[in-house]
Each structure stands twice: as C-alpha cells, then as structure tokens.
Subunit: 270 residues, 2 copies
C-alpha cells in the first residue's frame, strides 16, 4: 500500500456514485475502486448487526485490492458500521454523515437544520446525534422522503412530478423555519436543482457528497497519501448483482465512461 | 399434511397481501401462513439466481409449518423461480402470472394486451411468454412502472401526484390501442381506482390476485384438499424484518385484523 494505491468506495448500490463523482472532481489523480452491494440493497431497513457484517465483508474485499483509504459512501452503513469497523483496520476510513453534519452546523445562522433522507436514516436519528455532539443548541428536523430514490432511478430528475413530490415532502420543514437543509441520502444531490426551486434562495443546501470528498482530500494530504500520478487513473467498479444495469446508470452520473463492471460474490469475504 | 393444513403464501413484502385478501374472500375456511421477505425487498431488481435462492429458503420455511399448498404471491418470484422450485416439492405451488395471463387472453377482443409491472417482471418477458403460449396471435405491450410500489407504500393511493404518474406511465400503452390491461404487480390492485380513471371504461383491468385465488380454489378442489373447518381460521404472518410496520400496513388492506406478526431469520433455511 502506497500513495499509488486506489481509494475504495462502497455503497449499497448506485447512490455512492454521487460521492464518487465529487471525489473524481476534487481528486482527479486518484484511482477509485467502487463496490455497490446491489444484491443486498436497500440497507435502510436492515439492522445494525447486518449492516456491520456486510460492511466488514466489503472492506475485506476492498483490502484485497490494496486500497490506501476507504469511503463509506452510504448513510446507513456510515451510521451503523463506521465506528466499529474503524477500529478494525489500519487505513483511514471516512463516512458521509460527519462531513455533512459539520458543515451544516457551521452554516446555520438561526440553528434550525432540516435533514431529508431515507426512512432508515431518519429513524436512526444519526444526524440529530452527530449535530447534537457538535452543537447541542441546534434544532434538527428530519423528514423521510421515500419517493426520491425511485424518482432518481427512474431518471425523472428535472420533472414537474418530481417537483410536486419534493414540494409536498419539504413543506413541513419550511414551516419549521429551517435555514439549512442536509441532503442526507446519496441519491438526493441529483435532485438538487428541483429542491433549490422549491426551497428558494434563503436556505443553504448541504451536499454531504461534496463535503466527504473534501474531508478525504484533507485526510490524504495529512497522511501524505495523495496520488502524484500524471496519467488519467483507471477506475474499477464491482457490484454484487446486475453489473450491466449498474453500468448504464453510472454512465449517466459520472464524468468518465465506465467500460466494464464486474460481479463479485461478496458473501465469500468472511 | 392434510386438508386441515394451512396454505403458505409468500411475497417480497406487503404486495402479496392483495392476493391474501382475495384468498380470504374466496376461501374463507382456509388458514393462511404468510411470509413477507421484508429484509430483502425489493425483488424486482434482483437476478434470477438470487430470487430462486430466496424462494427456496422461504419454501423450506413454509414446509416446516406443514402447509398443503403454496402461493407465490409475487410476480418477480413467480417469473424467476416458479418453474424451478415446482420440480423440487411435492405439494401444489401456484404463481400469480399464469392465472392473470389466462384470463387476459380470454378477455381481449382486439388481441392487444397491456402489462404494467415492475422492471424485473417486464424485463423477464414472462407475460409475453405465457400469453404467447396460450394464444400466439396476441400482441403484448409491457410497461415498467417502478414508482407505483413506493407510491402505494407511502399511502398516496387516491392522490393527484399518483394520478399524474399513472397517466404518464400508461399513455404509451393507450397509443397501442390495448383493450385489456394486466395489473402485473401485486401492489397495483391498490391503485385500481386511479388506473380506472386514467384508462376510462373501454379497457378491461385484469387483477391477477383475484384470478390466482380462483386457480387456488380449483386446485384444492381437484386434489381434495379444501378445508372443511367450520371455525374461523387463525392466520399467521411472518416477516424477515420490521414486523410492526408490516402489521400496520396489513391491517389497512386485509378484511381481518392481524394481532401479531413474527420475525424469522430466513437465511437459516438453507
């Protein structure tokens, strides 16, 4: 393992690609090895023990690829597994929740923060917990938006139906006088434009994908692990099911074209 | 196993409850043991191999309850696994696809049949295959409607947003001059009212849940397995995750109240 090694990124499926995109933008010299656990998604409704077991298997798989750092590009796995698995490996490992929470706490002026996320993330209370640790005086209002992920996966990104759905979900947060809104699911940055139209200019949108890539850059700098390659890195994408479908979707999101995705039997990485 | 044994019904989650409801209506003396694989839903996006493995585990679980027949109340599992698992067990096993396809083929006058279902079911081409076997002259037009399930699960059943989504999905089938529309996902009968508003009165809606219960009745009669109990049967509901959430939803659908649902570790039924 050296600064020439790749960065491992994983998610329950395709959501983590928004984080990958930010890493590619902010750290264009870094090679990425992505794992999407498409056979076992969604993680949102599963228990802490299950998610921790899944995360361990994926980390073991990524370590066979000699990665120098790992990004858990999934809110549920960050919430349930990060603390445990961090103690078990030697390389830096970063989740998506802390970076977003930190920036939201710095950004808010009136102390009212909204969080939109999947039902699992909202129910876990993880953003309330993290934000409370940073600034106990904050008021945090969560709202589960279970239709956002299927709308994104349907490709109805800039669409009147999506705008109506966004409007209905976000209305109750607007009544709470929030001035900062965390996009607490890795799919949601893809709805950023429509969300902006609904909330207007007075509310800061926090994109944890962007903040996570910034944190990663900072960590790699600190540990002198930044790549110094001058050739364009070749990224690799692995999934546990449906490699082709994954590739098609990924090619609509990422700034580079994915030529191939590979299937992995992740359960064998016990 | 005797005619006093229960009927096993399974689905990836709650969708199969529409089939269960029809069985309760048409076969009120039969006891039902339901399994909803809520920990591993949705099935729609998973591969044939994965769905077959899941179905095998669930069938093994249901057989421990001494069931006399099994209904795969899930289109994806019916499409991917029925043919394989039918050869592996001794009791009757029925899927939801054949009964609906049969009635649709009998119903159509102009030979143009529309099928709405999840992406997995449409991609499998299973309705085209079954309909083609019954009547090779039919023209079958499939349309995946991935937003319908989350809309139902959000409870937005009779809702302007849902009507707009239905309208957008179904428009291209209307252009094909269909006169019969199969509701090819077990959640969809819950959207029947809105679908009817969009398609008007000129199109027959086929509800495979209803037809499956009819087929089950017929099979039990033939094999002399009909229950002759005179007391009201006590149904049992098992899920692989989130028993309480399941129970709440089930109680909005079923004609009887579910008092208790139980969690099962389905992966141990290898």
């Amino acid at each position: 393992m050296s600064n020439k090694s790749a960065i491992g990124v994983f998610d329950s499926g395709i959501g983590g690609l928004t984080v990958t995109k930010e890493i590619m933008n902010q750290l264009p010299k870094e090679q990425i090895i992505y794992f999407g656990d498409t056979a076992r998604l969604p993680y949102g409704s599963k228990s802490k023990a299950t998610i921790t077991m899944y995360s361990r298997q994926i980390i073991r798989f990524l370590l066979t690829k000699d990665v120098k750092a790992i990004v858990i590009a999934c809110n549920t796995a960050s919430a349930h597994a990060l603390e445990t698995v961090r103690k078990e490996i030697e390389i830096p490992i970063i989740g998506v929740i802390n970076p977003g929470a930190k920036v939201a706490a710095e950004t808010t002026r009136n102390g009212n923060i909204g969080v939109i996320a999947t039902e699992g993330t909202i129910r876990s209370g993880i953003y309330n917990e993290f934000l409370g640790e940073i600034r106990p005086d904050l008021r945090v209002f969560g709202k589960a938006c279970p239709l956002f992920v299927p709308l994104v996966e349907e490709g109805w990104i800039d669409d009147p139906i999506t705008k109506e759905v966004v409007s209905r979900y976000i209305q109750e947060l607007l009544y709470k006088d929030i001035d900062t809104l965390i996009l607490g699911c890795t799919h949601y940055p893809l709805l950023r434009k429509v969300i902006r139209e609904v909330v207007g200019d007075g509310i800061e949108l926090v994109n944890p994908a962007y903040e996570t890539a910034r944190t990663l850059k900072h960590v790699l700098e600190e540990q002198k692990l930044l790549s110094e390659e001058t050739t364009t890195p070749e990224h690799t994408f692995f999934v546990s099911d449906g490699a082709e479908k994954f590739r098609n979707f990924a090619n609509t999101i990422l700034p580079c074209e994915i030529i191939e995705t590979k299937d992995v039997n992740i359960k064998t990485f016990e």
